[in-house]
């Protein structure tokens, strides 16, 4: 079973040479720490930077340089700043190659819910609705089950949707899964996790096609 860093580490393997990548808040942010040094990648943050670097050293924070999570960041050589409209031109125009974000629920038809729980304070969708509706390549990073132990991979989302039919890949603490033909296809097991464990934790239709390899990190 993976921890949050393990999920991020596995997702980092999906980041290919030449990719522009948008990372959501939470586990996705950790992915940057695990991307191989020998490939060319640029991180986009939707508040207006391409070529985002690591957090600044103590004392070098710049109030005018933050990411979408409002954290102080740095800019790498080759970076650029732009306004929100151009930022979403990059996203909507499918110039960003990969979007990684968290979710509360994913359905087997690719629907995703990650912004609102009825009855609780609604903080807003931020850029998530634009990202999921626009990106061709979306990976969801999340725990397989919620705090109550209930599956987050469902036949149908119960929470208000963020986007419809948009998720193609999910990496959880238990498995890597792909969505097609209205089902979750089990692609890899996390280290030490059995197919049976994954079946137990998945409410939606789970397709197991032959031997399922353990993931290599």
């Amino acid at each position: 079973m993976l921890d949050k860093n393990g999920i991020a580490q596995r997702i980092a393997k999906e980041v290919k040479n030449g990719y522009y990548v948008n990372l959501g808040i939470g586990i996705p942010t950790l992915v940057a720490n695990f991307v191989r040094d020998d490939i060319e990648v640029e991180f986009q943050s939707e508040n207006g930077i391409l070529g985002m670097g690591p957090f600044p050293f103590e004392g070098e924070e710049d109030a005018d340089l933050i990411n979408a999570g409002k954290q102080t960041i740095t800019a790498l050589p080759g970076a650029s700043f732009f306004d929100s409209s151009m930022s979403f031109s990059m996203i909507r125009g499918q110039h960003v190659d990969l979007t990684i974000l968290g979710a509360m629920e994913v359905a087997q038809n690719g629907d995703i819910a990650n912004w609102k729980i009825p009855g609780k304070m609604v903080k807003g969708m931020g850029g998530a609705m634009d990202l999921v509706a626009s990106a061709e390549n979306i990976i969801v990073a999340m725990m397989h089950t919620n705090k109550k132990g209930e599956s987050k991979l469902l036949k149908q989302c119960s929470l208000p949707l963020t986007g419809v039919g948009c998720v193609t890949k999910i990496v959880t603490n238990l498995a890597v899964l792909e969505i097609k033909d209205n089902a979750f296809y089990l692609v890899e097991r996390a280290p030490g996790v059995s197919v049976e464990d994954i079946k137990q934790a998945t409410e939606g239709t789970l397709i197991i096609d032959g031997e399922v390899p353990e993931m290599q990190l």
Binding site: S45, E46, N47, G48, I49, P54, F55, P56, F57, E58, E60, E61, D62, A63, D64, L65, I66, N67, A68, G69, K70, Q71, T72, I73, A75, F81, F82, D83, S84, S85, S87, F88, I91, R92, D111, M121, V122, K123, G124, M125, G126, G127, A128, M129, D130, A133, S134, P160, L161, T162, G163, V164, G165
Partner: protein, 233 residues
């Protein structure tokens, strides 16, 4: 050269009234029009509808207006950093319209550019699209979103000149450029106001035609919301 310079924030806000709709630039606390917000607090303008990506924190940014119950409605994409906001929203004192971030930017930009409405994929199939026209183009579904209408836009730039030309810095640019010219009156506050002819005309982000009033702001706090650092190796 058409001179847009006004003496101070007080002159810049001439004509502001209760129940107006305002656009305010900034993302989180980054790039917000601090001087304009302070003046709105001082003038105690009430019943405002504020179009702004976020609602500040309890004691800074738009949070200062919320404390004094000056805001009737917020139109934002994310409002989660503010306890007073939550209290007013849950009690029904504050009306809130949540808009996807890219849609928010483009509804401003559309107003700037004279587009009455536009089709975006964001929010299709969600409650954001309820009651709105949806339509397929090339097999993909889109939602029709309308341009905002606002009375004042308050933006913050790094440098500006007397002709109203603006240059932004870093990610403090964010929503500010798209709000320029998107309201009846655009007020720009800048950290440094220089004479016309000082800025390179190739490097101007927003030409002065989109700005009605410009002034040099004072006492910028530029508060950092999430100070995050790494250790030296």
């Amino acid at each position: 050269m058409i001179n847009k310079k006004v003496a101070n924030v007080s002159e810049a806000l001439q004509g502001i009234q209760d129940n107006m709709t305002l656009m305010l630039g900034g993302f989180g606390l980054c790039g917000i029009p601090e001087n304009a917000i302070s003046e709105l607090v001082k003038l105690n303008i009430k019943g405002l509808t504020c179009i702004s990506n976020n609602a500040g924190v309890d004691d800074f940014g738009l949070g200062l207006l919320l404390q004094k119950r000056q805001i009737k409605k917020m139109i934002s994409s994310y409002v989660g950093e503010n306890d007073e906001f939550e209290r007013q929203m849950l009690s029904g004192e504050l009306d809130v319209e949540l808009v996807p971030q890219g849609t928010l930017a483009e509804r401003c930009k559309a107003a700037q550019s004279g587009f009455p409405a536009f089709y975006t994929p964001a929010g299709y199939g969600t409650e954001v699209a309820e009651g709105k026209e949806t339509r397929a183009f090339n097999g993909k579904m889109y939602v029709l979103e309308e341009a905002f209408k606002a009375d004042f836009a308050f933006v913050k730039a790094w440098k500006g000149d007397e002709a109203g030309n603006l240059i932004f810095k870093g990610t403090a640019r964010n929503f500010n450029p798209s709000m320029c010219g998107a309201a009846t009156i655009t007020v720009a506050e800048v950290e440094e106001l220089v004479p016309a002819g000082t800025l390179d005309p190739n490097q101007i982000h927003i030409p002065g035609i989109f700005v009605q009033r410009i002034f040099q702001g004072a006492d910028y706090e530029k508060r950092i919301e999430q100070r995050t650092v790494r250790q030296k190796a």
